[in-house]
Amino acid sequence: MFYREAGQFKSTYAADMAVFPIRQDRIGIAVILLLAFVGVPLIGNDFFTSTVMIPFLVFSLAAIGLNILTGYTGLISLGTAAFMGVGAYAAYKLTTFFPGVNIIVLVLVSGLFSAAIGVLFGLPSLRIKGFYLAVATLAAQFFLQWAFVRVPWLFNYNASGAIEVPQRLFFGIPVTGASASPETRYFVCLVLVVVLTWFASNLVHGKLGRSWMAVRDMDIAAELMGIKLLNAKLLAFAVSSFYAGVAGAMMIFFWYGGGEAADVFNIRLSFNILFMVIIGGLGSLIGSFFGAAFIASLPTILKFGLPALGVPLSGATAEHVTFMLVGALIIVFLIVEPHGLARLWQIGKQKLRTWPFPY
């Protein structure tokens, strides 16, 4: 009834090509942004902000990165965590080399390093396809993770092998380091994520995005349309790794706050991000957010939420139940809608449009 596009006519192509052509959608986005910028800091406590919201943002960004590669370009990667790691270590090294430069700039620059490494490991993608390509990215995953432990230069020769996050100020407010408040860190992450999401959205809706999707859907035909496969694929690797790198840097600087970084960027994380992308919806930016919420935040919420609701479970049992529940939910969601939560969302909107009729 209320969700209708009737009466909204588009008289220009520009309006028709907008990312959210329907007014209600635009209002929805505005509300969400308002909630994110004002609502969360107002109502959320520290615990919520730092263990649910910040991880959610970090993972969303990483998932967007992987979605560009896997969802839009059709290249499966199991090395996302390693590329995130490159971002994190690059940012760490950059802070030691350029202590004076603004930390946010450094975080963004570190993405470039990750992009370069991503391109390197993307090279085999011209010849290797599908799950076979996964091995190339697995090589990246394990090699880089090894390097994070074995190359002491990367962690400034610290005896423990851990990296520390120094305190850095932004307009006089600490944004990294232990004294940065969760809200500040959350804001920084939020701004980065919003801006980068906007860029990603622009890219995937334009020529580049179309080339990527063409390569994904039918690479031979794409080549015959004049798209250079290698360029398109490598660019996808670059952009994707850039996002992963920034997410990795954010992860260490705004969330973990240092520590044992090598182990953080392990294969499990790579898998998890892939799953976020799949569950959220391949080839859908909004799906990346859904996926991140589902895979990263749901277990946390279950774990701390169930006892709060009075479900009397011991730590280990709760963990087991969480595992089973998440596993079962993954399967249920896939069965209900294999194209991910994003598609479910769309169908929901479609139903809303035809409501109260079934179709």
Binding site: I347, Q350, K351, T354, Y359
Partner: protein
Amino acid sequence: MSIATLDAPTSTTPASDNILSLNNIEVIYDHVILVLKGVSLTVPRKGIVAILGANGAGKTTTLKAISNLLKAERGEVTKGSIVFEGERVDKMSPNELVRRGCIQVMEGRHCFGHLSIEENLLTGAFTRRDGNAAIKRDLEKIYELFPRLKQRRSSQAGYTSGGEQQMCAVGRAMMSKPKMILLDEPSMGLAPQIVEEIFEIVRRLNAEDGVSFLVAEQNTNMALRYATYGYIMETGRIVMDGAASMLRENEDVKEFYLGVAEGDKKSFREVKSYKRRKRWLS
């Protein structure tokens, strides 16, 4: 909407004479896309029935609804019933249906790309239980019908040409020794000679082995030549049906499907681009 019925539907004949009957079925894809809006049709035992209609009319969907392959595409039959040999089959699994003798040749080939042509044909005999010798014999028969397949028997199907794959798909279905074959666009991509041959095979199987056919076909000319009865579909509905001979004489059918309006076949160079109005849809 008015439906022009040229012939009393076969409902007067007893059901037992129909090998297949669809009763007012409705199909929805993805929970929201309504594609078939109440389709009823019957195939008499040992009959050849054609479904004609424009692109997107729902021919393929109808066939898939019968063979129960819809589920694999997230479609479902929400209303109506499908009866094959006197039994409701709308909840039956596809392999059960094949075992009972109803097999579909899918539109767009769908060979097993990594299997050789011969292996492809042999998978068609998966449900058969009458021994290797009989299967071998039938295999030879197929090769006789399609000599081209014999030449390419050990090639991986994925590498063969479009037409070869089409032959392979048809041959594969015949390998299951069915009572009824659902043929979806058998002529697509085949050389005229082979098209003719395929329909000859249909006729032969029908006459000699008593196999029934339900054929969805764009080549109306051909279809109406070989079928005994025809249904015409438009956007998910049956809009006309009748004996093939009568359909062939119908003015609308002549103009839109046979291209022989005003008695003469016109050249493709002469056709004008204009949006046609379907006369039976008011």
